[in-house]
């Protein structure tokens, strides 16, 4: 493209760029039809029905507390849930909802021992099965690992943990919040529900130029070159900007136990007076790490592989970022089929 061409396209591209940014909140995400199965406080359990169900074992998806679970169902044609349904799975999703100040008393024990435990119960009842596959991503993976450790021999047959922090002592987060300079007690006391925007800001600050400059430059460049990035950009941008608050007690426990004291991997984390012992995990285990993950670096996940008692352990380390690995444009053709292959072999009666 000549300089003159570029100049002549600039005004139109600028208007379109502004339009894409301004209409992002209107993007439609999480469109796959679903039923509400169970609710408790802010938590909702959804069911997505497959029309070609071929695997008896249902899959229960658990996402983090700091973003919405719609990342599993970003947009038609690029939805992990849609992919699982096409593969013949009965899919359930735990949505932690939008906690508010009245949920400040929700700690990790409430999420693992009540909400997740009951969601598993309801999933089994609804699917009419005795076992299920638990797929946790990010903090959802850590909560799932805790659940499996507390329920050895329980109803979880397969555990799939995606970009999950287990030993985050070497992460950038640990440098920020693990030391004495970060007073998590004061913050949890001041904010009964830690504002999602604050957590989003901190996440973006980990790669400031990439998040605040490169993203927009690439969008503008794509528009200038005549490509149409609207759909993919808006879906992801809308999801990224939608950050529910983090209940203060869960936040305090998460930061203290994981980043300041690193209790989980040391076997010193207790929920309701029961030790969360990762060596109790005996499910078929798939651990997925992303090579360029700066939020849950692979080095903070792989210690799990040596701790668990599972006889069937698989580790996939693939190029990509914390979210991009599973929700990027290449995920559908790269990581999803690998997950489906692993799961398919372990989902029969």
């Amino acid at each position: 493209m000549s300089a003159l061409d570029t100049l002549s396209r600039l005004p139109r591209a600028s208007v379109e760029f502004a339009n894409v940014i301004l209409t992002t909140p209107d993007a439609a995400i999480g469109r796959t039809p679903r039923d509400v199965i169970w609710t408790h406080r802010q938590t909702t359990l959804y069911r997505y029905r497959s029309t070609v169900r071929s695997h008896p074992l249902p899959v229960l998806l658990v996402f983090a507390l700091i973003n919405r679970p719609e990342i599993f169902d970003l947009r038609p044609g690029n939805s992990f849930i849609e992919f699982l349904l096409d593969e013949g799975y009965d899919v359930f999703l735990v949505d932690w909802g939008e906690p508010d100040e009245e949920d400040a008393d929700m700690g990790l024990a409430e999420f693992v021992c009540d909400e997740l435990h009951w969601a598993v119960r309801e999933t089994l009842r609804c699917a009419g099965e005795d076992e299920l596959t638990l797929l946790g991503w990010c903090i959802g993976g850590t909560l799932s690992a805790m659940y499996c450790a507390l329920n050895p021999g329980g109803p979880v047959r397969n555990a799939m943990l995606l970009t999950t922090p287990i030993d985050p002592s070497d992460s950038l987060y640990a440098r920020w919040v693990g030391g004495d300079q970060f007073d998590v007690d004061l913050i949890a006391e001041s904010y009964p529900a830690i504002p999602g925007a604050g957590i989003d800001w901190a996440n973006k600050l980990m790669k400031p130029v990439t998040n605040y400059v490169t993203t927009y430059r690439r969008l503008f460049q794509a528009i200038l070159e005549g490509r149409d990035p609207r759909e993919s950009y808006q879906a992801m941008a809308k999801w990224v900007a939608d950050n529910p608050p983090f209940p203060a007690r869960a936040y305090r426990e998460w930061i203290t136990w994981m980043y300041k004291e690193n209790r989980l991997v040391a076997g010193r984390l207790r929920l309701r007076n029961r030790r969360v012992d990762l060596s109790e995990i005996e499910q078929n285990l798939l651990v997925v790490t992303a090579g360029a993950d700066h939020i849950a670096p692979p080095g903070g996940t792989v210690p799990l592989l040596d701790l668990v008692a599972s006889e069937d352990v698989t580790h996939l380390d693939r190029p990509g970022g914390h979210i991009g690995l599973m929700a990027g444009s290449r995920a559908k053709h790269e990581i999803w089929p690998e997950l489906a292959d692993w799961l398919g072999e372990r989902s029969g009666r």
């Binding site: 509400v36 169970w38 609710t39 009842r125 109803p155 970060f182 913050i187 001041s190």
Partner: protein, 162 residues
């Protein structure tokens, strides 16, 4: 043709230079935010923001309380009472379902099936650790949802157990 490809236009050169500069800036900024000095600064910034928010909220609460108007704290107290009631209701519902399943097992199923299910329950244990009903207990319901959700309603259109 080949020569054209080898010599980039001035616009392409500018674009390439800009991308290089951006890439350098990205690396430098990541080094900066990864430093202990930045972590200290971030910690203090978070503390200051939290302390200011707390001061503001406490002051506002005091004003509203003195005006004898229900404030945020009162709403939260009410919401927590509701949440506690919902917790209790959930546990009662689970107990009820357990009893109903046991009755159904006893009345309508072969002895072999009953014992298999009982053994599965015993195996699954109780992770709540607070005296809540025992672990997930599967009940064959052919995909029928259990009870009405916030916005979903009972999928069967019938009361549970009907």
């Amino acid at each position: 043709m080949a020569d054209d490809r080898e010599s980039p236009t001035p616009a392409e050169q500018v674009a390439r230079l800009y991308e290089q500069a951006e890439s350098q800036a990205a690396k430098s900024s990541e080094r900066l935010v990864g430093s202990h000095g930045f972590a200290s600064l971030l910690g203090q910034l978070a503390e200051n923001t939290a302390a200011l928010t707390k001061l503001g909220n406490d002051g506002m609460d005091l004003v509203i309380r003195n005006l004898r108007v229900a404030g945020r704290r009162d709403v939260i107290r009410l919401a927590r009472q509701l949440a506690r009631t919902e917790d209790k209701l959930e546990r009662v519902l689970q107990e009820l379902e357990e009893v109903r399943d046991q009755l159904r097992d006893r009345d309508g199923q072969a002895p072999g099936a009953t014992s298999a299910r009982a053994s599965r329950r015993a195996r699954s244990g109780d992770a709540t650790g607070n005296g809540a009903p025992a672990g997930p207990s599967p009940a064959k319901r052919s995909g029928q949802s259990r009870r009405a959700g916030k916005d979903g309603g009972d999928q069967s259109g019938q009361p549970p157990g009907s």
